[in-house]
C-alpha cells in the first residue's frame, strides 16, 4: 500500500536535500576554518544572524508549548487539549534547534556545559543558559508520553501523569523567566541599541510578544500538517487561538506604544532613517496587518486565512527579534553587518532539520487533533494513524 506524503514530493525533497548540502558545507567551513571564513561577524558586530534567528526567534517561536500546556493543565481550558501535544512537540524541536544553533554560535562550543559549574548570578546570560537548559529538559519530559505511547511502554506512560502538573508549572515559570531575559540581555546595551527598541521594559516586551508568535506557529503547523498529510482536523481550535492571538497582540501594541511614547520616542517614529523603516515594517507585520486581518469574518473563518495571518505574525515577530539583534545596533556599531551566505545556510539547515523532524513526528506519533473518521483511514497504512483521543 502506498503511504501518502507531501503532495509535490520530489520538489520538496530536492529542496531539503539542497538546504542540507549547503548547511553541511557551511558547517565544515565553520568548524574547519572558523568564524572569519564562515561569518561576517566582527569586533563591532559580535552577535549576528545566529543569535537573532536561531536563539531569539527559536526560543520565542517555541512559546506555544508552555502557553498551551498552561491553558490546558493549569487553567483547565479543555478545548485546547487536542493541540497540547502539537504545541509541545513544536516547543521540544524548537529548543533542540536553539541548542544546535548554540553549538555554531559559541566560539568554544565544547565548553557549552561551563555555565552548569561556573556561575555568575549577576549575568542575564547565565540565567538564560540555566532556564533554557532546564526548560529543554522539562519540555523533553512533557514530550515523553507521546513517545512512550508509540514505543509501547505503558508502565512509563502510566507513571507520567503524576509528575505532569509539576512539569507544567516548572515549565511555565522557566519559560516566563527566559523569554523575558532574552530581552533582558539587551538592557546592558543602553546607548548602543536604537531608541525605538531600547527600553527598560525589554523583558516584558519580549515575553508579551513571544506568546502570540508561539501560538501563531501552532496554527501554521496544524494547517500545513493537515494539508500535506491530507488529514482532517477540527479547525475550530485555530479560530479560538486566533482570537487569543488578536487579544495578546493588541495588549502588546498598547504596552509598547505607551512605553515608547512615555520615553519620548515619538520623534523617532518619523525620522528619515533606515531604523524608522525597519520599525514600521516590524510593527506593520507583527501588529497592524494581523489585527486588521483578524477583524474580517472571512479571514477568521477560513483555515487558509488564519494560516496566512499567522505567517505574517511570525514574520513580524522575526522582524522584531532581528531588528533588536542586528538593525538596531547598526548605528552604534558604525559598520554594516550583512550575514555571509554560510550563516544563512547553517540557520536554514538547522530550521529545516526541525521541520523534517516535526514531519516525522506528525507521521509516526499521535500529535494532532484528528476527527474520528473510522471509515476512511487518515494516514493510510501508518500504524499510529488512529483517530486522536486526548491524552490524559
Amino acid at each position: 500500500m502506498k503511504i501518502p506524503t507531501f503532495p509535490k514530493l520530489t520538489v520538496w525533497r530536492v529542496l531539503v536535500a539542497l538546504i542540507f548540502a549547503a548547511g553541511l558545507y557551511a558547517t565544515v567551513v565553520r568548524f574547519a576554518q572558523g568564524f572569519q571564513a564562515s561569518t561576517n561577524l566582527s569586533d563591532a558586530y559580535p552577535w549576528g544572524l545566529w543569535v537573532g534567528l536561531n536563539t531569539l526567534c527559536g526560543v520565542g517561536l517555541s512559546a506555544g508549548g508552555f502557553a498551551i500546556a498552561a491553558a490546558v493543565y493549569i487553567l483547565g481550558l479543555e478545548r485546547y487539549r487536542p493541540v497540547v501535544r502539537t504545541a509541545i512537540v513544536i516547543a521540544f524541536l524548537g529548543y533542540l534547534t536553539v541548542v544546535a544553533g548554540m553549538l555554531f554560535e559559541l566560539g568554544l562550543p565544547w565548553r557549552i556545559w561551563h555555565p552548569i559549574v561556573l556561575w555568575n548570578r549577576s549575568s542575564v546570560l547565565f540565567e538564560v543558559a540555566w532556564c533554557v537548559m532546564l526548560y529543554t529538559t522539562v519540555v523533553a519530559l512533557e514530550f515523553c508520553p507521546t513517545l512512550f505511547e508509540r514505543l509501547g511502554w505503558p508502565r512509563l506512560q502510566a507513571w507520567h501523569p503524576r509528575i505532569l502538573i509539576g512539569l507544567v508549572v516548572v515549565g511555565v515559570l522557566l519559560s516566563s523567566l527566559h523569554q523575558s531575559f532574552l530581552g533582558g540581555l539587551y538592557l546592558i546595551t543602553k546607548g548602543k541599541l536604537y531608541p525605538l527598541w531600547y527600553s527598560p521594559q525589554l523583558p516584558a516586551l519580549f515575553f508579551l510578544s513571544a506568546i502570540p508568535a508561539g501560538l501563531a506557529v501552532v496554527i501554521m503547523a496544524l494547517y500545513l500538517s493537515a494539508r500535506s498529510l491530507r488529514a482532517h482536523f477540527d479547525l475550530t481550535i485555530q479560530r479560538e487561538l486566533s482570537f487569543v492571538i488578536g487579544l495578546l497582540l493588541a495588549l502588546y501594541a498598547l504596552f509598547r506604544g505607551i512605553d515608547l511614547i512615555s520615553r519620548g520616542g515619538w520623534e523617532y517614529l518619523w525620522m528619515m532613517r533606515a531604523e524608522t523603516g525597519w520599525f514600521w515594517l516590524e510593527v506593520g507585520l507583527f501588529v497592524f496587518l494581523p489585527l486588521i486581518l483578524l477583524t474580517y469574518p472571512q479571514v477568521r473563518g477560513s483555515p487558509l486565512g488564519l494560516y496566512w495571518t499567522s505567517v505574517i505574525i511570525v514574520m513580524g515577530f522575526m522582524a522584531n527579534r532581528l531588528n533588536v539583534a542586528i538593525n538596531a545596533l547598526q548605528a552604534s556599531a558604525g559598520v554594516t553587518y550583512v550575514p555571509k551566505w554560510t550563516e544563512f545556510a547553517i540557520s536554514l539547515a538547522v530550521i529545516t532539520a526541525a521541520v523534517v523532524a516535526f514531519r516525522l513526528a506528525a507521521i509516526h506519533l499521535r500529535i494532532f487533533p484528528v476527527e474520528e473518521e473510522p471509515a476512511a483511514p487518515l494516514y493510510g497504512a501508518v500504524p499510529s494513524a488512529r483517530a486522536f483521543t486526548p491524552a490524559r
Binding site: F35, Q36, G107, S122, S123, L125, L173, S176, L187, I188
Partner: protein, 264 residues
C-alpha cells in the same frame, strides 16, 4: 606598594605619539610587533591620531565593569588592585562581554579555531609583583602614570586647575561608575574617537533590577499557578458532584467515579 586600588593616568597633552607603549605591550604579550590603527586581537592598546592629538585606546578597567556582570561563566573579574582580568580557561566564547562593554573594547580572535577574547590586562601580573604596567615603564615623556587611583585623581585635578587649556573633565572619574584608566585632554573627548557610556551609573544596574526579581517571580508565580490549578481541580470536582446528583452512580464516590471516567 600597598593594596589600595591602582589606576593609570594618561595625559593626552603630553603624548608625543612615539608608539613605544603599544610596541612594548606587544612584546610583553607575545604579539606580532607592528603598530596597528585600531584595537584588535593582536593589539591590546593603540595610539591613534585624532584632531591633532595622539590618543591612547585600551581597556578602561571599570570599577564596576559591564563585562564582569555580563559574563555567564565569570571569566572576567575585577581584581581589588584595579585590573579587569580574563580567565581564558573559563570562557565559552559567547562574546556577550563585547556587546556589553560601553567603551567597545574587547576584541575576538575571529581567525582562530579556538578563539578567545583579547583585551588589555593592565599587566596584572606585574602589578601583583608591585611593578607598573609595561606601557608606563617605556613612556619617554611621562604621558602615562601609574599609582593609587585617589592620588592620580588629585594629580589630575591639580593639572586641570593649573592649566585652563585642559578640558574640565577627567575621563574615567565617573563614567559608567568610574574606571581605573583616567584620561586628561585639551580637546573634548567626543572629538577624540572615544566610545562613551550612556551615563555615570555602572551598566550592571540596568540588569540588576530584573535579576533581583527572579526569586519573587518564582515564588509568586508558583503560588499563582498552584492556586489556578487548585481552582481548576475544584471546578472539575464540583461539576462531577453535580453530575452525580443528577445521575446517581451507586457504589462509587465522585473522586473514584472521575478516575473511572478518565480510564474509560
Amino acid at each position: 606598594m600597598n593594596n589600595r586600588p591602582k589606576a593609570m593616568l594618561i595625559d593626552i597633552t603630553r603624548c608625543i605619539g612615539c608608539h613605544n607603549c603599544d610596541l612594548a605591550c606587544k612584546r610583553a604579550h607575545n604579539l606580532p610587533e607592528e603598530t596597528e590603527p585600531e584595537l584588535s586581537d593582536t593589539s591590546l592598546t593603540v595610539v591613534q591620531e585624532r584632531h591633532g592629538r595622539s590618543v591612547r585606546k585600551l581597556c578602561m578597567h571599570c570599577l564596576d565593569p559591564a563585562c564582569v556582570s555580563a559574563c555567564p561563566v565569570a571569566a572576567l573579574q575585577k581584581t581589588p588592585s584595579g585590573p579587569v582580568v580574563y580567565q581564558a580557561d573559563r570562557c565559552i566564547g559567547c562574546r556577550y562581554c563585547m556587546l556589553a562593554c560601553p567603551f567597545q573594547v574587547p576584541r575576538y580572535e575571529w581567525t582562530r579555531l579556538a578563539p578567545y577574547v583579547k583585551k588589555c590586562d593592565l599587566c596584572a601580573e606585574k602589578i601583583a609583583r608591585g611593578e607598573a604596567p609595561v606601557c608606563v615603564e617605556v613612556c619617554p615623556v611621562g604621558a602615562v602614570q601609574f599609582g593609587e587611583r585617589e592620588e592620580l585623581l588629585a594629580e589630575a585635578r591639580r593639572r586641570i586647575a593649573e592649566n585652563p587649556a585642559y578640558v574640565q573633565r577627567i575621563l574615567g572619574e565617573e563614567e559608567a561608575g568610574g574606571t581605573s584608566v583616567l584620561f586628561l585632554s585639551d580637546v573634548p573627548f567626543e572629538k577624540l574617537g572615544f566610545a562613551l557610556p550612556p551615563d555615570n551609573r555602572p551598566l550592571r544596574v540596568l540588569t540588576a533590577g530584573p535579576l533581583q526579581e527572579v526569586p519573587t517571580v518564582v515564588t509568586l508565580g508558583s503560588a499563582v499557578l498552584a492556586t489556578l490549578y487548585w481552582i481548576t481541580r475544584r471546578r472539575e470536582e464540583v461539576a462531577l458532584a453535580e453530575e452525580e446528583e443528577k445521575h446517581p452512580h451507586p457504589g462509587l464516590p465522585p473522586r473514584a467515579r472521575k478516575r473511572e471516567v478518565e480510564r474509560s
